[in-house]
């Protein structure tokens, strides 16, 4: 466990270093004089002249050599100074906090919905098997082949354009959250319901499960007392693997639905070449990703203290 946590700490530092180095390279690779560009971003295109550019250059220390500039860039990051957005001029940290809460709602809604779909479906297919199982297998396979943004697009077409039940995009009310959450939840559930199915079948075929039924417990009792916890460990561990899908799904879904979260912010920043925001958003996602992975590790450890499944 300690070794694992140490590894996660290493990852955390690695993310900070990797992202800042890449964005630094990005900063350097942009054509033109950086001072003019930043000045244009701050004071508007018309107000840029040599004096304002020189002011910016002196203030940000842009005339240093590349190595010093890199050290400066990285130490800024370590002290929590992410700079200001080149587009809005606001501190990146403030913008990120704002975006983060929106991303969080979306991700939570998506995960909860996917679990609500996947767990009952997986257990039911394992219990009954037969044609029902084969049907769900086919459906899951087809669903899985749809990228998450295609699912989102189809959901928009069906529920927003044709039926007009929910708004197409935007945010503000609960009804705005419904479609993105459905798209995200369906994509996640397409994979996870088969994992639940496999694990449930394994548990149901195990000797201890058979014995519990033989001794006369009702189906529900067996499932509740002997199934759930044994099932939970691999399923929670799988949620850790699925985190990648979740983060990537959130990025795509936010862009599709104009949901003002970190992913949308990242895509927009890349489009607008707003480097401090790119760095901040990528960093935020990387850090969250590592932290969530750690949370999954700890959850697995608590569910199964034997620790055999860790690593």
């Amino acid at each position: 466990m300690t070794q694992l946590l140490f590894k996660r700490l290493l990852q955390l530092l690695g993310v900070a270093w990797g992202v800042s180095t890449l964005t630094f390279l990005l900063m350097r690779s942009l054509p033109g004089d950086m001072a003019y560009r930043i000045a244009a971003g701050r004071y508007g295109m018309d107000a840029v002249d040599t004096t304002s550019a020189d002011l910016v250059r002196a203030e940000l220390g842009l005339d240093q050599g590349p190595f010093r500039a890199y050290l400066q860039w990285f130490s800024d990051l370590l002290t929590g100074n992410l700079g200001n957005s080149l587009v809005s001029g606001m501190p990146v940290v403030d913008e990120l906090w704002h975006m983060l809460s929106h991303s969080f709602y979306l991700a939570m809604a998506g995960v909860v919905l996917s679990m609500l779909i996947a767990v009952p479906l997986g257990v039911a297919t394992a219990w009954w098997g037969g044609w029902f199982d084969r049907l769900m297998l086919t459906l899951s396979t087809l669903m899985r082949a749809l990228p998450v943004f295609v699912t989102g697009l189809l959901v928009i077409i069906l529920f927003a354009l044709e039926l007009q039940w929910f708004p197409v995009a935007g945010f503000g009310s609960v009804s705005h959250l419904v479609l993105p959450a459905i798209a995200l939840g369906l994509s996640l559930a397409a994979v996870s319901n088969r994992v639940v199915h496999n694990e449930a079948r394994k548990v149901m075929q195990s000797p201890f499960f058979e014995f519990a039924r033989t001794k006369g417990l009702s189906n529900w009792q067996v499932l509740y007392r002997h199934g759930v916890r044994n099932l939970a460990v691999p399923v929670v561990a799988f949620m850790g693997i699925q985190l990648i899908m979740l983060v990537e799904g959130v990025v795509m879904i936010e862009s599709l639905f104009s949901w003002p979260g970190v992913g949308h912010g990242l895509a927009h920043a890349i489009f607008a070449r707003d480097i401090p925001v790119i760095q901040g958003a990528a960093l935020m996602m990387g850090i969250l990703f590592v932290l969530l992975n750690t949370a999954v590790d700890i959850a697995c450890y608590c569910l199964d203290p034997r620790g055999g499944r860790l690593q």
């Binding site: 990228p147 694990e199 983060v247 990025v251 990387g286």
Partner: protein, 267 residues
Amino acid sequence: MRERTLMNARGLGLLLLTVLCVYSFGTSFLFAGDGNSQNLNHILSIPNAEFLLGTDHFGRNMWLRLADALQLSLFLALACVLTSVVTGVILGVLAATRGGWIDRLIDMLVTLIMALPGLVLVMIFASIAPGSLLVLYIAIALIQWVEYFRLTRAVIQRVDTSPAVESSRLMGFGLWYLFRRHYWPVLAPQLLTLAAFGAANAVLMMASLGFVYVGIQPPTAELGQMIVELFPYYQEAPWLLAQPLLALALLVLAFHLCGRRGADAPD
């Protein structure tokens, strides 16, 4: 029964993949014209004898455009898979057989790469050189070799302790012989599965980037970007939007079916 359904799934995947390949590569040989040339007299036309899949909002021939886009996706998938398999397997063999600091060094690198979600890394790379296919390919390969490396390392470490390998080694056979005779037969089927999913992922990554408009730049035909371009015309020409959607889904489905192992058996 299970064996047969597995064969069917794989067979179906291969069939789908072959059809898509024949369509996309055959089109460039058999059909004259250019997927990027505009014809504003024929915009949003429905499929007919001249334009087999209709034309888009600039009057570009969708049959040619879709073939171009599929070709690009297939090409990228192939390049990414080949590069990352070769890199991953070589480094995996090195790490498992040499051990020591090589192992630790590569393991640290892998930990670093896995700390960031793949799509985010690819997006940052894409922003360094917007619209560059080469950078996209490098970024995707950079992420994907990690999986082949982990698989190779795990498999070889397990096989390495078997009596067969021990005795081969005692008889003085070299690494190349061990690899060919002992490692590869165990490794190959699992690599194939991973490669199929890796190909699907590469296709998805490029389409995702195109979809958020930071990937391949217009006018090059690319599936994700075609979807965005055609979405505004959904009301007038829904069949146009359906084409890239269907092509992308079929391509990913084909790869997924090819990679099916033991009827969705657990690992």
